[in-house]
Every structure is written in C-alpha cells, then in structure tokens.
Symmetry: D4
Subunit: 253 residues, 8 copies
Amino acid sequence: MKIAEILDKYKGGELDMAEAETLIKSSSYDEMGFAKLDTQREQRSGFPEVIFCAGKPDDYLVSIYQKMVANDGCAFGTRASQEQAALVKAAVPEAVYDPVSRILKVEPAGGYKRTGAGGVVAVCSAGTADISVAEEAAQTAEYFGAEVIRVYDIGVSGIHRLLSKVDIIRSADAVVAVAGMEGALPTVLGGLVRNPVIAVPTSVGYGANFHGLSALITMINSCANGISVVNIDNGYGAGYIATQIGRLAATGR
Amino acid sequence: MKIAEILDKYKGGELDMAEAETLIKSSSYDEMGFAKLDTQREQRSGFPEVIFCAGKPDDYLVSIYQKMVANDGCAFGTRASQEQAALVKAAVPEAVYDPVSRILKVEPAGGYKRTGAGGVVAVCSAGTADISVAEEAAQTAEYFGAEVIRVYDIGVSGIHRLLSKVDIIRSADAVVAVAGMEGALPTVLGGLVRNPVIAVPTSVGYGANFHGLSALITMINSCANGISVVNIDNGYGAGYIATQIGRLAATGR
Amino acid sequence: MKIAEILDKYKGGELDMAEAETLIKSSSYDEMGFAKLDTQREQRSGFPEVIFCAGKPDDYLVSIYQKMVANDGCAFGTRASQEQAALVKAAVPEAVYDPVSRILKVEPAGGYKRTGAGGVVAVCSAGTADISVAEEAAQTAEYFGAEVIRVYDIGVSGIHRLLSKVDIIRSADAVVAVAGMEGALPTVLGGLVRNPVIAVPTSVGYGANFHGLSALITMINSCANGISVVNIDNGYGAGYIATQIGRLAATGR
Amino acid sequence: MKIAEILDKYKGGELDMAEAETLIKSSSYDEMGFAKLDTQREQRSGFPEVIFCAGKPDDYLVSIYQKMVANDGCAFGTRASQEQAALVKAAVPEAVYDPVSRILKVEPAGGYKRTGAGGVVAVCSAGTADISVAEEAAQTAEYFGAEVIRVYDIGVSGIHRLLSKVDIIRSADAVVAVAGMEGALPTVLGGLVRNPVIAVPTSVGYGANFHGLSALITMINSCANGISVVNIDNGYGAGYIATQIGRLAATGR
Amino acid sequence: MKIAEILDKYKGGELDMAEAETLIKSSSYDEMGFAKLDTQREQRSGFPEVIFCAGKPDDYLVSIYQKMVANDGCAFGTRASQEQAALVKAAVPEAVYDPVSRILKVEPAGGYKRTGAGGVVAVCSAGTADISVAEEAAQTAEYFGAEVIRVYDIGVSGIHRLLSKVDIIRSADAVVAVAGMEGALPTVLGGLVRNPVIAVPTSVGYGANFHGLSALITMINSCANGISVVNIDNGYGAGYIATQIGRLAATGR
Amino acid sequence: MKIAEILDKYKGGELDMAEAETLIKSSSYDEMGFAKLDTQREQRSGFPEVIFCAGKPDDYLVSIYQKMVANDGCAFGTRASQEQAALVKAAVPEAVYDPVSRILKVEPAGGYKRTGAGGVVAVCSAGTADISVAEEAAQTAEYFGAEVIRVYDIGVSGIHRLLSKVDIIRSADAVVAVAGMEGALPTVLGGLVRNPVIAVPTSVGYGANFHGLSALITMINSCANGISVVNIDNGYGAGYIATQIGRLAATGR
Amino acid sequence: MKIAEILDKYKGGELDMAEAETLIKSSSYDEMGFAKLDTQREQRSGFPEVIFCAGKPDDYLVSIYQKMVANDGCAFGTRASQEQAALVKAAVPEAVYDPVSRILKVEPAGGYKRTGAGGVVAVCSAGTADISVAEEAAQTAEYFGAEVIRVYDIGVSGIHRLLSKVDIIRSADAVVAVAGMEGALPTVLGGLVRNPVIAVPTSVGYGANFHGLSALITMINSCANGISVVNIDNGYGAGYIATQIGRLAATGR
Amino acid sequence: MKIAEILDKYKGGELDMAEAETLIKSSSYDEMGFAKLDTQREQRSGFPEVIFCAGKPDDYLVSIYQKMVANDGCAFGTRASQEQAALVKAAVPEAVYDPVSRILKVEPAGGYKRTGAGGVVAVCSAGTADISVAEEAAQTAEYFGAEVIRVYDIGVSGIHRLLSKVDIIRSADAVVAVAGMEGALPTVLGGLVRNPVIAVPTSVGYGANFHGLSALITMINSCANGISVVNIDNGYGAGYIATQIGRLAATGR
C-alpha cells in the first residue's frame, strides 16, 4: 500500500490511527523513494536484479534461478563456477554458461525484449589474460541494454595497437578499461577520449602485483582526467556503470 | 598543418618527400585524433585546461595564470595555498580565491559565457569536515558548465538526514559522494539512486584511517551498484567525471 | 587450599613456615582473584570453557570433547570442520554439528539447565554470505544464556530493509552487526540504536577486501558512537561480549 | 510534527493529502524511530551531543559552543587544541579546558543535574604516556553519568602492578583498557575480569608501531574473551561504550 | 693451506711469487677468519650445519642426508614434510621423524657425544597450537647441547598459569617465548626474568593476524626490556640463539 | 613485609586472619618473585631503571631526574631532546647531555662504582647516519657495565671495510649491528661471528624504506643464524640485551 | 606500406587524398618507429617475441607454439607448467621442457643461428632455492644471444663463498643477482663490480618475507650504486635487460 | 703495500712471518679485488665518490667538501638543502648549488678533464613536478661523463607529446624514465625503445600515492620488457646506472 492509499483508508475509517501509523512505518519504502526486493529494484534503478553466484550455497543458488526464471522468464548471474553451472542447468535446462566470463544466464523466450538502456560502451582490455573480466563487463552491459564495442589486447607496452583504435573508442558514451599488472591502460585512454573511463584493475600478474592491488593503486593515482575505478576484477560493476552513463546519453535523463 | 595540407603541398611540390615525411611524423597528433596543448585539449575533451597549483614553483604558477588570462580571459586552478593565491593576485588582480575549496580563479569579464556542458550534478558530503573536498567538486562542475545541487552533512551514522534528501539527490544526472572516516555514504546512496555515484574518499579522520585509505578501501569494496571511486581528496576529479556524465545526459552525445 | 586454610594450618602447626610459604606461592591464583582451569574459569567469568576446534590435532580434540562431556555432560566447540565433526561424533555419539555455524556441541541431557545470563541480543547480518559468522555469534549467545533476535540480510545498499527492522533491533540489550565487503552496516546501526553495537567484519568479498581487512578498517573508523570491533569472522567473540552486556542488563551486576 | 499529529490534521481537513504525504516523507524520522539533530539525539541514544573539535574552523567551533551553552547551559568537546580553547573561552568565558585530556567543557550552573546513566567504569592505562587518551575516556564516561575508577600505569611488562589492582578492576561494569606500543594490556585484563573490556590502542610508541597500528592489531587478535576494540586514540568512543554498558547494568534496560 | 704455510713454502722456494699470491687470494677464508663449507662452519660458529628441508628437491635432500650421515654419523633437518621424511627414511633407515616439530634427524650411534654447549634454555609457548614451533626451538637447542625446560600453554589471557611457572623460567640462561595471535607472552615474561628473551611469533590465529604479522609487530614493539625477535614460526632460529647464550653462560667465552 | 614476616606476625597474634590475608594479597610481589618500582627492579633484572624521555611532560621529566639523583646519586635517560636537556640541567646542574646519542645522564660522584655486568659488546654500524642509534646502544651497554667495542661505517656495499674488522668483532660476547636502508649488515656479520647478533634497523633512508620498515623486514628475514631483531632505532634495547648476554659470559649465571 | 611509399603513390595518382590519409593514419606504426606484431617487434627491440605461458588457455598456448614454430622454426616460452609442456609437446614434438627454469622451447634445426647480441652476463644466486629463477634468467640471456656465467649459492651469510668468485663476476658486462629471504646479495655485489647489477627478488622464504616483498624492498633500498630491480621471481626480465646491456657492450650501439 | 711487496719483503727478511701475515690480513683489499676508500673506489667502479648530503651533520659535510676539493680539485654532492649549500659555500667559495636538482658541486679548475664514460643517456620525465628528480639523474650522468638528452613533460595522459619524441629517445644508449602519480611512463617507453629503461618513481602525487609507492609498484609490475626500477626519488641512482650502460656502449668493456 502506498502512503496515499493508507491516508485514504484512514480518512475513510477503514484504518484506525494505530493501524495507519504502523502501516506507514512498516510499509515498503517505495512510497518514500525506496523499493521492495525484485520488482521495485528495477523501478528504482532501471536495471533488474543480478545474481552474484560465487559463494552461494548450491540449494540457494538453484532456487534463486528457478524463482527468477519462473517470475521473469530470464535470469543473469555472474562469477558462476563450472560446478554451479552444471547444478543450475540440471534444474533449469535453458540456462547457458560462458566459461570465459563465468556468466550463467537464461535468455527470455523471444530474445531480449528489453527496450534497452541504449548507449554505446567500449570495453577495452590490456592483455589477453584480462579478457575474462572484460567479457564480464561487456556481457553485463549488453544484458542491461547497451551496444558494446570490444577492443582487446591494446596494452600500453605496445602503444601502436591502442593508437590504431582511438577513433572507435572515442565514439563510445563510456569506456571500460580493463588491465592487470601495472594497470596503465586507463591513463592513456583517459587522455585520448572525451567521455568517462571506468577503470577495472585485474588480478592478472605475479610478484609485487599483490593480486591486483598494483593495478588498483595505479588507476586510483591516474593523472588523466575522467577516470574512476571499481574493485579488482569487478567487470560487472564497470559494465553496470558504463550502461548507466550510456542510458543517460541515449535517453537524456 | 593537417595531413591533408601536407599531402597537398607535397603534391604541389611545395614540400619534397623528406620534408613531408618529417612534417607528418612530427606534426601534432590532432590529425590522428590527438591534440596540441591548450586549445586542442578543449577540442579533444570538451573541457578547458585546469591548473593543479600544489607544488608548482611560484614563478611558474604566476606565469601560467598570466598567460591563461591573457589568452582566454579566465583561468581556474585547484589546490592553491593562501600564499600562492596572494602571489597570483599580486600579478593578476582579478583573481579570486576561495579558502574552503582552495580554488583560485579568474572569471571571464562578462561572466561565464560558456554554453555549458549542462547536466545536473548532486554533490553530497558525509560530514562538515568533508566540505572542502566537496566544494572542490562542486565548483569544478560549475566551472565546466553543470548545475550543482549541494547536499552536505548527510553522513550515514544519522541516516534520517540522508533519507530526507533522497528525492533531490535522485534528480541529478550524476552524484558525487564525499566521505572520510569509514566512508559508507556512497554505498547507501548507491542503493537509493538511479544514476552513477562518483565516490570521493577524504583524508578526514584519525588513527586507523591512514590518511583516507580506510574510506578508499570501503568505497572500492562497496556492495552497491553504480559506484566508482577516485583518489583520496580528489574533488576535482569527481566533479570532472560527474560533468562528463551530465553533459551526456544534457546533450546526448 | 585457600590462603585462609593455609594460615589456619600454619597457626595450628600442621604446616611449618617453609611449607606454608610454598603453598601460598604455588597455590592456584583463585585466592588472588585468578582461577584454575575449567571450574574456576566459569566462576571467574561466569561463562563455561569453549573449544576452538580449528587446527587442533585430532586426538587432542576428541579427548577434550570426551573429557568435557564426562565432567559436565555437555560441550561447545567453534570452527569445527566437517571432518572434525565426524571424528568427534564417532567417539561422542551425542555430539551435534551445524555446518552453517561450524559449531559442534553436546547439549546437556535435560536441555540447557543454565539459569541463563539472560539479556537480549540482536544479531544482524549485511548479506546472506555473512550468515555463517552471524550464526556463530547467535548460537554462542544462546549457549551462554541470551535470547537472540536474528535480523539477516539488511545490508545498507538497500537501506529500506534495515529501516523496517529498526524497532526490533532497538529492543535488544546489545547488537552484533556482521558485515563483509565495505562493512558499513555497524555505522548505520550505531546511529539508530541506544545500546552497544559489536561489529564483526567478515572475510566475505573479493579483490581489495583483503580477506576482511576492508570491513575491519571501515568499522574501526566508524563515525557513529557505540561501536567496537572484534577480529575478522570472530562471531564467537561478538556473541560472547553481547552476552556479557545482556547479563549486566538482565541481572544488574 | 509526529505522524499521529499529521494523520489527525489530515483527517480534520487541516492538511490535504499532498501536504500530508509531503510532511510524512520529509518529517524528521522521530516518528519512525529516528531523531532530529540535538534534542532528539539525546532522546534516541540517551546521551547528549558532543563536539569533536579537531579540524573544525574557528568560527564554526565558537558558534557551536555559544549555541549549545545558550540552549542547554553546558557543552562538552573533545580533541580541542590549546588555541581552540583560548578562542572559545574568549567567547564563552565559563568554558574550562583540560590540557591532558584536551576536553573543553562548560559545566551546567548548578553542577551536573543529569540523573546519570549510572554504572561503574574502570579506566586502565598501560603507561604514563597513555594517560591523555585514558583521561579522554574517563572524563567522557563521567560526563555521561558513570562513576569512574582510574587505574593508571599497569602495563604488563611489570605484571605485579596490574595484579595488585585486579579486585578493584573486577568491580566495574565495564573496563576501558588503554595501551600503546605492543598493546598487550587488554588481553591480560580480559582473562581476569568478568565484564566487557573496551580496548583502546594508542599511538604511543615509535618505529614499527606505525602510529598505533601495532597496538590495534594486537588488540584485534587478542586470544582473551570479552575484548572489543575502538580506533587508535579514541578514548571518547571507549568511554561512550563503557557508559552504555554501565547504564544497562545500573538501570536494567 | 693456511697463510703461514704458504708463506713458508714461498720462502722455501716451493712456491714462486705468482703461485703464492694466487693461493693467498683464492684460499678459503679460514685464514682470515672465514670457513669452508661443512667442517669450518662448526669451527667458526661452534655449531654443526643444519638442513632446511622445506622446498628442497627430493633428490637433493636425500643425497644431503646420505652425505652428512656418511661423514658425521648424524644429521639434523628442520621443516621436513611427512613425504620428505618417508623418502629420506627409505634411503637412510636410521632417520627418525617427529611430526610435531617436523624435525628429521639421525642420532649418532653412541648417542650425542657432543660435549655440549651447555646452558639452560626455557622454551615457553602461549597456546597448544604454538607447540609445533616451540618443539622446533626446544629440539634445536637440545641438538646444539643445551638443557631445555619446556613450559607450554601459559598464554597471558590466563595469567595465573604463567605466574605459577615464573621461578623455573627465571632459572634459565635464555628464554624462548613462542606465541601467535596477539603475541603478548614475551612482554610479560620480559618483565619477570633477568636473562634475554627470544620472541618467536607464530602464524597461529586468523583474520587480522595476517599469518603471524600481528604477533611479530607486537613483539617488535614490546615495552619490556630484554626482548629480541626472530621471523614468524622460526623456532629453529630462536633455539639457535638461546643456545649461543646458554653456551656463553656455561663456558664463559 | 615479606610473606615470612606476615606469617610470623599472624602466628604471634599481631595480625588477625583477615589482616594477614589482605596483606598477603596486596603485598608487593617481591615474595613471589616480582619487585616494587625502583629498587626491586634492579634486584629483579640486575639493571637499574632508565628514563625514556621522549614525550614525557616537562614537569614530570624534571622531577623524575631530581628524585633519581636524590635517591641514587645518578640517572640515565634516553631520547632526550635538546630542550628537555636544557630543562633538566636547569634543575639538576650536574646532568650531561650527548646530542649524538640523545642520552642525558648524571654520573655518580665518584665515577661509576658499579662492579659491572662485565662482558664485551661490539657495536657495529653500517653508515655514518646510523651512528646516533649505535651510540645509544653503546652508551647503554657501558652504563650497564659492559666493555664496548665501536666499529662504525662498515656497510656491506663496501664489504672490505667489514672484512678488515672481523677479528675484533668476533672477540665480543654479543654484537649489536645497526643499519638502515636495506639493512644487510647483520646477515653478513651473522655468518662471520660465533656469538649472538642483535640487529637494530634504523629509520635512515628515503623512499621505499618506510621509516625503517625496509631494514626491519630485511633483518627479520635474515638467512644467517644467530640474528634477532629489536624495534626500529631501538639502540637502547639492543644495548640492554647485549649486556645481558655479556653478563652471562662474564659471570656465568 | 611505409609513409614514403604512400606519399609516392599519392603523388603518382595511385591513391587519392582520402585513401592516402586513411593509410597513413591506420598504417602500422613502423613508419613512426613502432612495429607490427611478430616481425616488427624483433626489428624494434632486436629481440624476438617470447611466450608467457602461465595462465594462457590450453588451446591458445598450443596454437601459439604451432604458429611460431611454423613461422620461425623455433619458439621460447617461460613459466610453463608440467601440464602445459605435455600439451605443447603432443602438438609440437620437438619442444623441450626444463622443469627447473620452467622454460619450454623449440630450438631451431641447425642450432641457434642467431648472430647473437653478444655480451657476457653473470647470473648469481644466493641460495639453492633461488636457482629456478636464476635459470630462467640465464636461459633467457642465452636465448637472446649472451654468454652466461652461472655463479650459484653465494649468499652473503657465508660471505667467503661470494668473495672467492668476485673476479669472474667482475668480468661480466652485466650481473643478474637473484636472492630471496632478506635479499642482501645485490648490495654486496654492487659494491664489488663495475657494471650494472640487475636485482631479482624471489619469493623464497617464509613468515615475514611476504612472498618476496621483503627481498624486493631490501633491493630497492640498496645503498650500493648500480643496482636496479625487477619484479619478484622475474628471472626473464632480468635476463632480458642484462642481454640488452651485454649487446651494447659487445656491439657498441 | 700490495701482496707482492709483502711477499718480497718477507722473503728478503724485512718482515718476519707474523708481520707478513698481519699485513696481508689487514691490508686493503685492493689485492683481492676490493678498494680503499676514495682512490680505489674510482679504480674499482670507474666512478668517483659522491656525497649524499641529506642528514649529514654540518661540520662533517663541510669538512668532506673541503677534503675532497683539496684532494681532487672537485666534488659532487646530492640532496643538499639550501642551508647546507650556504654552509659549504662559506667554507668552499667555488661551490655551486642548483636548487632544482639540489646538487652542490665544485667543478674542477680547467673544466671537467674526465675523459668521460661516454655514452648517451635520455632522461625523460612525466610531469613538470618530476623535473627535480630528473635533473638529479641528468646532472649525475653528466658528472660521470655521459651526454644527456632531456625530454621532459611527456606523461602518458597526453600520449602525443611522448610520441613526437620517440626518435630522439630511441637514439640513447639508456633511458631514465622519471614519473610520479600512476607511474606509467616507463611501460610505454619500454615498448618503444631498444635499450634499457631505468624507471624512477617519484613521490609526486597525493592521496593513495603513498609518497611514491604507487609509482614504484606500477613500475615493478610493468608488462613491458627492459625495465628495471630504483628507489623512489632516486634520480642519482638511475643516472649512475644509465651511465654504466652508456660507458659499455661507448667503450665496449
């Protein structure tokens, strides 16, 4: 019940004051700008719920997929292991798993009906080992309705590869820049493009990379403008933000 | 000279091959999508050059202000100390200094003529001690043409303050969330708004905050969607990115 | 022998001075406010001994359970692995293992006879992945005699969930707040409740969470009042402290 | 206006639905269990507002003291510098400054009329250099209504000093244990007392103490039961929590 | 050849100048106070070579044991795994393995003939989980000729256990104090004994103990006199140093 | 009163049981092997009290010096600043200050009467910038009765300097090795001498030395035998331990 | 096509301006000093491409080896696991795997025809456990054409071993110094040789070595001249740089 | 005396055996490949001694300059403060100070007579704030005899600046790459040049740059070939190594 309804019923005598007060206090926060789980999240943020598979107990994971497919006819999960994928597929046969991005999804029957946030997102990766994270970003952006341009293996230790792709990258509304090791790609990109760069450090590397900390610190200290950073290996997060930006570009507010 | 011109002159015999080759190689990279200092930066990124005052030798700083004001009739610098402001004002009397944001600027004669990137940016701060960084973000966004909504002192240890401001924050194209200490503000905001949140950790705090590292790590690990992070105390960077996003929202691409 | 007894016997000639002096020096420290292992620990702290199973050699662990059950008719151990549980159950068939909390216990024949420390403890968790640690806290508090209110999955990135539970949380004598990733839950709770909040960082997360360090640092830097912190994943410790507080509330001193 | 009032006025026609809805949404959250600044904070937490002086601009600090004294006849601030104390005393002559604890306060005209949270708090310090932080804890607890037992200079490298004070420390409802350098005091105390120990690491030390990090980590890793930790040098926070506990002990809930 | 011999032979014409010069330059450094591998190490340091088994390739490890037993009739290795022990025992049947200390040794036929460095070493451990490291220290000291007093499970969270053992610990020439978690044992011991305390942090613990770093930092920051620290889990190193000290006490220089 | 006395008086009726019990409990712990401040510390450890001047409030520092000189005719303090030295000298004119070691002392009228712990300590430093710390170690050892051999500026980047001094260093009962920057000196010394090496990392260096952490970590990881480590810049601690060892060598136990 | 060619064809009418401009912009960057993958890398750097095997998907790795052997008749990969070696050998039977260095290579039919960069590289290791990394460096240098002098097991805790090898090490154009644990070898070598020392920290060690960080920090802080550092365990990188230097020595520029 | 001389004199009876042996042992290590201070360092390394001024006591610094100028007619010191420069110039009037590089030197009367190591070194800096460190590198290289090419302000956030300078940088025998903040310059350069790149992280930046650690870690993790790293702000070290390399290129061995 929305606050307006509660007020109406109170005025009409259907609710006494104690009932009305309780309802207002305990109502979902939609009425105050907050949302109930599931349906209201999409209303609030414009994007449907996504499943973070890693670490979820098997039973819980399977039943979430079952429930989301039952409700919505589709589901999208990240960080699924091969084993989790097998379990979910046993219960939800239409589920499809991509071992590169580790995304486990059920596409809706008639294809994505989503009108689409729109927007164009360029997903760039420094090395081939970063592609797993880059694909998580790219497929997330596609799931949320963006058009994705993939530009892989343009690490700055061979700068000519990146330079030959500048025009296509500049055409995007937002750029996701994925890099491990020394993580310098976003800085170079930041100096070449007009729109925001979302930097994703990866855990690719060894020794003093400290599982991605080196790339994270590099990106946070970037001297280029327009660069903000998400957590190590967080391709999903970067794809999400890039699509938020693309949506604004495509649709105005 | 653009590549087209060089080609023309070569064909016309004004340049021999060695001259043409040298010119192409050493030409500014505008022709390839890159820009020369100053004018071309604004062409490339849509935003004019900004002066990072901290650590600049006095002579250098003064002459940069003098040159920029001579060229453009205006200038905008961040992280200026009281001493630097005095020095610049001695040479450029129309310079104005704000000790809170530490911004030192010369506004153009007829006011900002900039057509404006447009867009609406909400700048939120957790505590009153974060306002210096928040103002750097806010004034940067204004300088680059955004409309700024300031929402200060809404730290999550008194969540009711934030909740009462949700509607106004949700109306922005991008949100800058500035917080020190435990840095939890962006996570709560990320769950309440639709558009990107740029998180700015500040060095406010003591003890195990490690000069802002605590807030930085909190923000990078945020479990909310739509949050990306800039360097500690980097209000300028967040204001820049928020305006990039606002520009996309206001103007499409 | 208590000091009083020793003095008596010395006066009565049963002990000579050397004997009496030795006895006093080497006596258990009960007389000085300290306790002997087992029985005196409960006298001293009001709580029985608990077994930290992790890393204990198999033989040692089994014999501890056997001895405690023989002495007291019950036993309570934390951080038991599936393998340890199987070993102990082979020797102590009445042992019961909960794989979520990893608690391995033998309940006393007639149920908990403990008069109970009393007190009400609210155990809150930010996400579903934190429930393992939260249950360790909850079951510890129950074992020590507190009434426990479980409030799970109220992470601050969806603040409406937490807000709808404020009244019930405020009713507790002490609040245990369990959170991983950015660890912001205790700060928001600290601003909403009247009684102490024991914050438990968990190792849940990835990338720059550094196995729980991110949440630990967040909590230590909390700007809210009334928050103190225990070690990463230390649900037991938080349950213990919350029950100490609940006992004071329930019984006065 | 409380929700009940708003409902009444709506029913009575004094408010139309839009007005009522707006009032409910934007009302202070007292009605939902939250409080407005100042008065409602004390209602919510039972403790009045305290001023964190460090880093506050001079004008702001002075006016806060003036306002709080005007409203309440008293004020209590922590981390005040000698300079800040002088400034405030110029404007608020009845302010009193303690350079050891760095507390700057105005006591109410007729002495503390507060009925008092009650409860007994023991504040222990390891070394003489920790006394500044210990006094911040002690005076905070006193301000909030607790009776304080001070036990200073009982560091564990001379364990006999601590042992001679065990009985008095055990008599408290909560123990604040303040220590720098290797920070071992809380662990030893935790094994000797029955009630909660709030551990406060201090920045006292040099070399690899990393400004208090050594003591913080020691305390977080304590193998004793009943120990929770606050930020480095956060005497205020520990005094607050200890008084929360003492209040529960003194008054029941 | 020693320098004296070379000089003699040169004078006697058995060597020409070039030969003599080369011999002096390339001679082992015994003559200058340095030693050749194996025999001279014992001459130089007074202690025989020890084998650090961890990480040694299997073939290499077996042949070292074979060679040392062939030469000396005995061998002593630390950090041997169960698998390494089996391999060595297959080749050197008289080898004996202790799975607690992970020491793999061959005792000389007629028992230790070593006259012994002498000296008395107390090896103390805080918890039962630290015993593996403590035994490495104890058995190392015994191997090098010290008499060892074992005092285990005297962690400072139950200080009465330690206090009851002070006299026996004080009787040692050197004390090895082994502790994990918060690592406070050496500080308390340092205040109670007269002779040096060698502190050994262990990796025992979890969460913010960072694999022993917490205990290491605690010990380095100890406010007690007479405490020096070795690497995490380095029982061998502490046993070695304690025996060096015991040797000085037993034999003078 | 010693326990024996208390027992006697109790038997003789001078004390009743309650009195005797209280006296025993609250008596100084001399009877149990512990000491009262000042006199008993020297009894317990064999070394007199030393003043750690840094951070001591002026009044407190001056009165400590006054009291110690009044009681013992001498005093010894470390880490005294130039300002502290001036203050103490104003009150205690016979005080002498060494700005290199920052030791502030009053020598006894007839010179050091101390019979001396005896023993020979070699204090080695890697560079000239480490001499301040080295002198703190050397003068501490001398104060406690050791004979000190100073061997300065023998850093391992010019290994010939160290090699020419090996014989003299080997003649000491204990070696203090002071080094900043990469801190390699103790490892090389450890391989050349027979007796224990106390390694003292210094904060000398810049950049990634992290105020001495680099040298500390180097020393803790030393692959040489016989090396233990004290806190950064803790010359006093190393001098103390070296003298403990020297005393054992000189006097047996 | 080189820029000169494009210009020629444009002048000759084979290309119109748009075609010429496009070709110049999109041409490989050879013409500007950059290279296309494979062939041009060797032209640019003088060294052929090398395969970093670790983490490469199996299919990708096998096809890279197949392609490189097809093109060049040889291939060289680092960090190959036993499993990867087996897979590649199944497809490329002439591949040879060295389990010590983990190098997997195909030597050209007639042996290395490479004229060779020339130069002499000394590869030194501190301990036997560092040999794996040292061999990666040595075999890399050999692959790139250097003559390699191996000097293993000369750690500085037994300095005489190193000293006896100084002349041979001094004869090299560049020195690779490989060391784990405290990492002091490069500093001592740096003081003894004339040419650059490339320091390689290894992850060998335990406890506070933090997987090689201790050695890395030691080497970065070295007080000797002529030392620069590569990543932990990066033998390949050091071998590469040493050969670059050797090439300059052997061939002039 | 050289060993040959000693042998001669011994044979000739001028020395007896004890004298000869002592002389050989205590002789400078020139004969064994080591050098005496000053003259022999230059013989050993080919480069004269340099003074690290920072932290040197005033008297010591002045007398070093006086002695070196007296001996050699010239002197070269790094990290001299303005105050130190004034002191030295008072005693050694011909000393010249450069406040940018902080180098304080006395050039020899007839100009540098040094035949010169030769070689060409390119010193590149990312930003204008890095020029102080870059100049230390450049002037060091010049002092040691290299020809220096300065290429400043070519940070990778504006990649066109760097690209226009590739040819000149590629012409050097060694490249010094100086960068703060995110430190990406060496990686991009490493992919473009043929010869070694010495990377110098600087402390330029703020927030999470941790006084240069960010740039250091970036450079250590560089994915480009040919990059080795020196300490933060260590321009001197990089200039030294680059000149070692240039010398090899110029002169062969």
